[in-house]
């Protein structure tokens, strides 16, 4: 494995190893001599927007999760305070646990696939010649740029039961891929992983270019093979990036919505294929049980916060703030 440090045209962006623009940590903000109100004026619009348009709905969500809030309340009946009943009902509902387990498994499989394939593609980019690298990176950028909705619709067409390409490739006339939960999640996984790989690959590739070439050369002279060099030099050096990417992928795949929603509309077996995001939506919009929907949504936020904590910790550890 050779490490190039030049930037040739078409090579993917060199993202600094640290996930902030490289200049950020060099020079801390200059302290002002006098206490000024100017910074507060400058951040005022941000604070107002975040408080009013995001903070308020979050508070409403918390309040609603403790209320009996259904169709009647939408039409004016005062909402009754029922404490933690919404949560209790949710926890007692076996279906909720099924959805949670399913979401976790889906998330795990997708993160593992996206990360491992993404790293492999990054290693590939790193060892390709410049022309080939231009081709591969341009293709990856195109895949990355596809809107989630259109990407899902296109994959839905590829797996169409009547004229889809998949049926022709596998020689399965009239196979309905979306009707069976296993193949449904197979298709969803293909979409999520296909869309997720470019970001991982580019970020890891940028990190790879920061691994000192002489270090690898020295290891190679000492008799370390490609696998050993990867295991004992590249992986430890890339560990911060890999951690952050894994955390981000986990967050993204845990809340996946669009892909599942669109495929469900096409396949029609939502009960067997619900993941947490879509389920929360269905509780509220479909069954008009806004209280339960709020409880599920709040639970999802809490779970995400726990996951985020790991991410924030690794950000702080590198002292990027």
């Amino acid at each position: 494995m050779t490490v190039t440090t030049t930037t040739e045209p078409g090579a993917p962006p060199r993202v600094p190893v640290v996930p902030v623009p490289a200049t950020a940590e060099r020079r801390p903000p200059r302290p002002r001599r006098r206490r000024s109100v100017l910074p507060y004026v400058l951040i005022a619009p941000t604070v107002i927007v975040l408080t009013v348009v995001l903070g308020y709905p979050v508070v409403r969500l918390i309040v609603q999760s403790g209320q009996e809030y259904g169709m009647a309340q939408v039409f004016g009946t005062p909402a009754r305070w029922i404490g933690f009943d919404n949560f209790r009902h949710l926890f007692e509902d076996r279906y909720f646990w099924t959805v949670l387990r399913r979401t976790t498994v889906f998330c795990f499989v997708n993160v593992v696939l996206t990360m491992s394939l993404g790293v492999l593609v990054a290693l590939l980019l790193n060892s390709l010649g410049s022309k080939m690298r231009l081709l591969v990176s341009t293709s990856l950028i195109l895949a990355w740029a596809m809107p989630a909705l259109t990407a899902t619709v296109v994959w839905q067409w590829i797996f169409d039961s009547e004229y889809g390409l998949a049926n022709w490739v596998f020689d399965r006339q009239g196979e309905s891929w979306l009707a069976d939960p296993m193949s449904f999640f197979g298709v969803a996984t293909i979409i999520v992983v296909w869309m997720g790989i470019p970001f991982i690959a580019f970020t890891v590739y940028a990190g790879l270019s920061q691994v000192p070439a002489d270090l690898l050369e020295a290891a190679s002279l000492d008799g370390a093979g490609a696998v050993a060099r990867f295991r004992y030099i590249v992986v430890p050096m890339l560990k911060p990036i890999l951690m952050i990417l894994t955390a981000l992928s986990t967050l993204w795949d845990f809340r996946v919505f669009t892909q599942i929603y669109v495929l469900q509309q096409a396949g029609g077996i939502s009960r067997d294929t619900n993941l947490l995001g879509v389920y929360t939506y269905q509780l509220s919009i479909g069954q008009s049980d806004y209280g339960a929907g709020a409880a599920a949504a709040l639970l999802m936020i809490v779970l995400m916060c726990i996951l985020t904590l790991g991410y924030l910790r690794s950000m702080f550890k590198q002292d990027h703030i």
Binding site: P19, V53, V121, V136, Q156, W157, P198, L248, V262, G277
Partner: protein, 274 residues
Amino acid sequence: MKPRRIVLNLTGLLVAAIALFPVYWMVLTSFRRGIDIQSPDPSFIPFPGTLNNYRKVFERDFFWTATKNSLIVTSLTVSVALIVAFLAAVAISRFRFRGRTALLVTVLVVQMVPAEALIVSMFRVLDGWQLINTVIGLSLTYLVFVLPFTIWTLRGFVEGVPFELEEAAMVDGASRIGAFRRVTLPLVAPGLVATGVFALIQAWNEFIFALVIMQRPGSKTLPVWLQEFNEGARGTDWGGVMAGSTVMAIPVIVFFLIVQRRVTAGLAAGAVKG
């Protein structure tokens, strides 16, 4: 060529093909005639082709309304987000003040709030403000979710301009604001453009909130319109659906290609999935 190189290049070709194929298949299908799309043996070249699918899309109900809505929501979101975020970015990178770290942490945390969990609550709040089915309502929603990423990226760009440059201008007699406007702003401008385009892509692509907030046929945005077309066609008009998808995706892909390099640096931190 060494065998190792050949294997590597072949793998490269395979990866490129897999990455590219759905995009290619979308554009290809959009140019094909109905009978060719429904033939049992797919062909991989667009001949004989047709523009019929695109005509159908352009003539379809509410296509132009949806495009107009999308354009308005997107430009509103981007312009307001850039102004608000730029001010905050300047405060964060040029001043040290109490609450600075708290603001940064908030920005990071907000970034992680699953929008999916807030849909209904957001809907009810907007409903109370009479903003359902309005571009203002949807733009406000998008503003919140675009803002953290925009602040984070712009902060990097503003920090990239050495404060010493501004100081030098002030020594030469420029006022603080004058120095900022004449020195820093022009240097940050490319960053503003790149960040803006990225916010534009986010707002243009967004599907979930639009689905819930814009329910009247006349107020739907392009993604919601497309999904409705997709559901309505139920696998009978893939040519039309693919033409619609292409119309929606191509501007995004082009914009993305232009700014991708500049913005990726902020991406890992900004936690925005393209």
